[in-house]
């Protein structure tokens, strides 16, 4: 009795294991949505206190004004602009002002971007322009730090080494993009 039991091997048939695994694999393949948690980051200004409203005077030359109306037309520094991809170069020149042009910002620290939209402006053009504005600053930072703009954006601030690169790039130049409350000319 005991002998015959020992002779016949009690094995589980593992041949269909691959099939089962395939089935599960296909289920997960189909249900997977690789999350795309990437985008443009922004910090909103704090809620203003009614008690202390200080009027800060900003020199006109330091301001880089971008406005978009409800028909998605751009007005940059008082002039109409059809191609929003030019904004990046314009802003870099405005911030750094290499030729000491008296109409551009006094110093990179003083430069401020004023970005104004209308309630009827489409979100797409808003993102495109914001992308250009942030891109200009990242490019300035990256050049100072000696890395590419893409590397600069991907820096992990928890790593002290990478944080040092970030600090060297950013330095004392703030990313001063002020997003004004939209006007309501176009209506919505």
């Amino acid at each position: 009795m005991a002998r015959s039991k020992g002779r016949s091997k009690a094995e589980v048939n593992a041949g269909s294991m691959a099939d089962i695994a395939f089935l599960l694999l296909i289920f997960f393949l189909v249900t997977t949505t690789i999350a795309s948690d990437k985008g443009l980051t922004l910090t909103l200004p704090p809620e203003p206190d009614d008690a202390e409203q200080i009027d800060v005077k900003i020199k006109d030359r330091n301001l880089f004004k971008v406005a978009i109306n409800s028909a998605d037309r751009l007005l940059v520094e008082g002039e109409r602009l059809d191609d929003y991809t030019q904004i990046k170069e314009m802003l870099i020149e405005h911030v750094l002002n290499p030729s000491q042009n008296p109409e551009l910002s006094e110093s990179p620290q003083d430069a401020i971007v004023s970005f104004k939209t209308d309630r009827g402006t489409s979100y797409e053009i808003y993102i495109n322009v914001l992308d250009q504005l942030q891109g200009a600053y990242y490019q300035i930072y990256a050049e100072r730090a000696g890395v590419t703009a893409e590397e600069f954006r991907g820096l992990n601030l928890k790593d002290p080494k990478e944080k040092a690169i970030y600090e060297r790039g950013k330095g004392d130049i703030p990313m001063a993009i002020s997003i004004a409350e939209p006007t309501n000319i176009g209506g919505n």
């Binding site: 593992a14 294991m17 691959a18 695994a21 395939f22 599960l24 694999l25 997960f28 393949l29 249900t31 997977t32 949505t33 690789i34 999350a35 795309s36 948690d37 990437k38 985008g39 443009l40 980051t41 922004l42 910090t43 909103l44 200004p45 704090p46 809620e47 939209t117 209308d118 309630r119 009827g120 402006t121 489409s122 979100y123 797409e124 808003y126 993102i127 495109n128 914001l130 992308d131 942030q134 891109g135 990242y138 703009a149 954006r153 991907g154 992990n156 409350e181 939209p182 309501n184 919505n188």
Partner: protein, 160 residues
């Protein structure tokens, strides 16, 4: 000649005994990466594209708002709406929603909450700014506009 005959006799089967292991490995990869969707998105979502993307560092601190035209226009109208979790909310409800989302986090991390907005390209800035005003009031000031990566192909298309 005899040499060739010998070769043809050798079995030419691929060993498949390691196949389940390979499949299991793939399976585990997809099991780990899968995020089962908790909410059904009820608004149109054609996300715009941008270049200057940043990644969110800690996903647990993120709450999502979906903004766009409702998919069921006959039921909810054609005006852009805000979806939070599973329901449509009005801009004035955002204060309460943010408070609820903050309650889910540990106390020390409540100020670090990030609101990720997934907004349809066709939405107007009016509704976005209403949301932002409310977020400022709710003191949830870290914001992210979810976008897709702009590829060089898209750039060429836009130039044409």
């Amino acid at each position: 000649m005899s040499k060739f005959k010998k070769k043809s006799n050798a079995s030419q089967e691929i060993p498949t005994s390691a196949l389940p292991d390979i499949i299991f490995m793939l399976l585990f990869f997809f099991m780990v990466t899968t995020v089962l969707r908790e909410t059904e998105i009820k608004v149109e979502q054609t996300i715009p594209k941008a270049e200057q993307l940043k990644k969110i560092e800690r996903k647990s601190l993120v709450s999502y708002l979906y903004i766009g035209k409702p998919k069921q226009t006959e039921k909810f109208g054609g005006e852009a709406k805000i979806q939070a979790n599973d329901v449509f909310i009005e801009p004035r409800d955002i204060l309460l929603w943010v408070a609820k989302e903050k309650d889910k986090l540990a106390e020390a991390e409540r100020d670090k909450i990030t609101i990720a907005m997934k907004v349809d390209s066709e939405a107007k800035m009016g509704i976005i700014s209403d949301v932002q005003q409310q977020l400022r009031k709710a003191n949830a000031r870290k914001l992210m506009y979810n976008t897709l990566k702009l590829t060089s192909k898209d750039k060429n298309n836009s130039l044409l």
